[in-house]
Amino acid sequence: MSSDKVTLRFQNKAVICRAGTSVAAALWENGIRVLSHSPKYGRGRGVTCARGQCTACLMRIDGIPNVRACETAVCDGMTIERQDTGAFYGPVLQKTLATADSLFPVGFYYKWFTRPAALSRMFLQGIRPLTGVGRVPDAPAAVRSLPEAADPPARPAATEDLGSVDHIIVGGGPAGLEAALEADAPALVVDDHPSPGGQRAAALREACEHLGSRLQRYPTLAAADDRIRSLQEKFSERRDLRYIGHSRIVAGYRPNGLLLRHGSELASVEFAMLTWAAGAMDVLGLFPGNDTPGLIGPRALYRLLCRDGLRVDGKPVLVVGHGLDLWLSAALLSARGAHPALVVDGPGDQTEISAAVDEKWQLATGMKLASLRTIRADRISATLVPRRSAPGPINSHLELDADLVVVCGEGKPSFDVTYQIGVDYELVPQAGGFVPTRRTESGYRGTLPDGAPVAIVGEAAGTGPQVPSEGAPS
């Protein structure tokens, strides 16, 4: 076997895939999209966030339960199993529930079979084996975390000398790099991407190169790419700024403690000052079928294509939404030989729309996603309806089939760690979710309960991708 191929054992069958990709991408390319079944209704779930932030890809890998397939690099001989058996309601009940969920109202297990005491005991005994997902680990084994580039995660005297730092900047995207460059003192930037630039950097570079001279017709893409490149360059010139890739902040403890995970190792970090620039998460929306395998957000798309090299050539892909990510997804997909169909959910920007028409991308405007369903193992059917209050074809529903559906919109600011250590948050749906109270246009600046200064900037502050945007529709 050549070294660029590896063989996995999936459900006891051999699966051959490219080396250097993630388990989730490898299975996808082998036509296996359902990675797990949901605990209650037993619905098939596929890779969703591609970033270790959801539940959809939890599998038993090398005897360890609940391992994230999207964050695990393939290696020869790896055993991969779905954790389907006996999820909460059991297979028979799940079948029933899938069709008649009104039989089981919310919280029915609190209310049914409580009397007499003997029946209640029998009920408990009966449901106990159905609880839980995944069996306890077989025996300790090594599960590798995915190297994002060809080079293995360099261990920059990584974790040992951390201990306490003066200024930690979490997130190496444009907002984080800008904060680092503005700082006149040494700072440490941590991010899970191997090098500075953030979630869009690689996708932007590739898309811009693909567009070549046509790039001028996509001013938002050009501006975003320029900005990141110039920040990357300035950052590399500053000796007092340090970057640690392959690292994620996985917990916050008051007053000023963080847990950093580098690969599979943890280190504790005490900071004097924190800048939170951890960006945003994809938001897929609330509509029927919003758990259909193959529905992802732009950030997941960038990771699957740029990090895992997922093959999409020749595939129809539906991209719905607005903003920078809509155009970036479309351009990246066409760079990879996919056939993007674009649905702009607002009025859209004329410059880009006319450019997209010239690209020969399918295009509709003023529509939004109404529902999704799987029609074949590798095909999704989407129903689109006119967006109220937006000009566009009225009353014309649209049915589209696609291999992959990408929903682009405002991201959801990442907030859990800063909230844990004492920053006040409030719900502002227009800003994508919870955002720091008393934030300004440039983000949030304040102090933690014990007095340590904290800044929250960029998409993490709910201020949108920091690029000229076409103006979000209502």
Binding site: Y110, R115, G132, A251
Partner: protein, 394 residues
Amino acid sequence: MIPLTREQVPATADVVLVGAGINGLATAYELAQLGMKNIVVLEKTYIGSGSTGRCGGGIRQQWTTEENIRLAQESVRMYENMSAELGYQVFFRQGGYLMVTENENDLPALRDAVALQQRCDVPTDFLQPQECLEIVPDLDISRIKGATFCPRDGTAYPFAVVWGYARACHRKGVKIYIGTTVTDLKTTEGRITAVETDRGTIQTPLVVNCAGPWARSLAAGIGVELPNRQERHEIMVSESLKPFLDPMVISISNGIYFSQSMRGEIVGGIGDSDEPRLPGPSRFKTHSGMRFAVRFAQALLSYYPRAAEVRMMRQWAGMYDVTPDHRPILGGVDGLDGYFHSCGFSGHGFMLGPMTGKRMARFITTGRRDEIIESLSLERFSRGDIQADAFVVG
């Protein structure tokens, strides 16, 4: 079902209970059972938001004083019937409690405790380390010197218990107000007259202080001095896995306890002698610490190495309302008519709550102190009648 109103409170009530934890709700339910009307429960945040919702849900009969054994035994009987009684599934599962020690010197005390428990009809047995493997097959017994096991101990889901009581209370006409803070108790000539809240005043002749860790400051407002101290305790749950652990394992050597819930999570905590006991102001520090996560993980793996690849999902902290002898304070106060308290449950109010609720309700309605109310009265501290239990763990 449970209309948790945020309205203005009523102008009058026959009795007001402060706190919708297990004690407030169980007492309210038992008062209603005894035919009392116009019962009002006031809760400053939400149901179970105090210690009850933060606790490990453990219920055991393995104690070293006869009184504690009898109290717990009575509670276990109530828990065995609770789902049926309340018409609400509280997930009481009797997987037993395995109490282990790493210290030879503890063995005589363990054997004495077993003998006492058996005399009280609690089916506890003494186990050699090897025998522990029959109960927890993957237990690392290399440091364990001996253990005791009672198969009828168990765990219940704390939120289900308080919701179940709340629902049953509601059916009996008890009014529960959430988001309502008692700011003051009013007395005139040695009698309770009213309860003041941030949503209005309620005239009432009777008030029951079930405010858990906040009980001390509430009582202080009317000159009742409680010896309670507040101690922060941390706890965590793991990811949910298929059943693999039946009992609660608890170590009297390092204070760790862990079991597997009906959702499949490992639920566990560990005591920390470095935690200060605070002369409780009414606000508490309930943040999670990294120190706990590390100490718990180390202690867990020392007994259950197979959990090395199991993940911790969430950790949190709660308050123990601790008394000098770790026993609750029940009853009333001489010279202050209409005032009652049920607090100071230390680390075991969840297991005692149903039973103490019943006895408190009987005391409140009849005025007769039974032997438990007598022995757990506040006056015991001035009488010097303190009998501490050796098995205070966690």
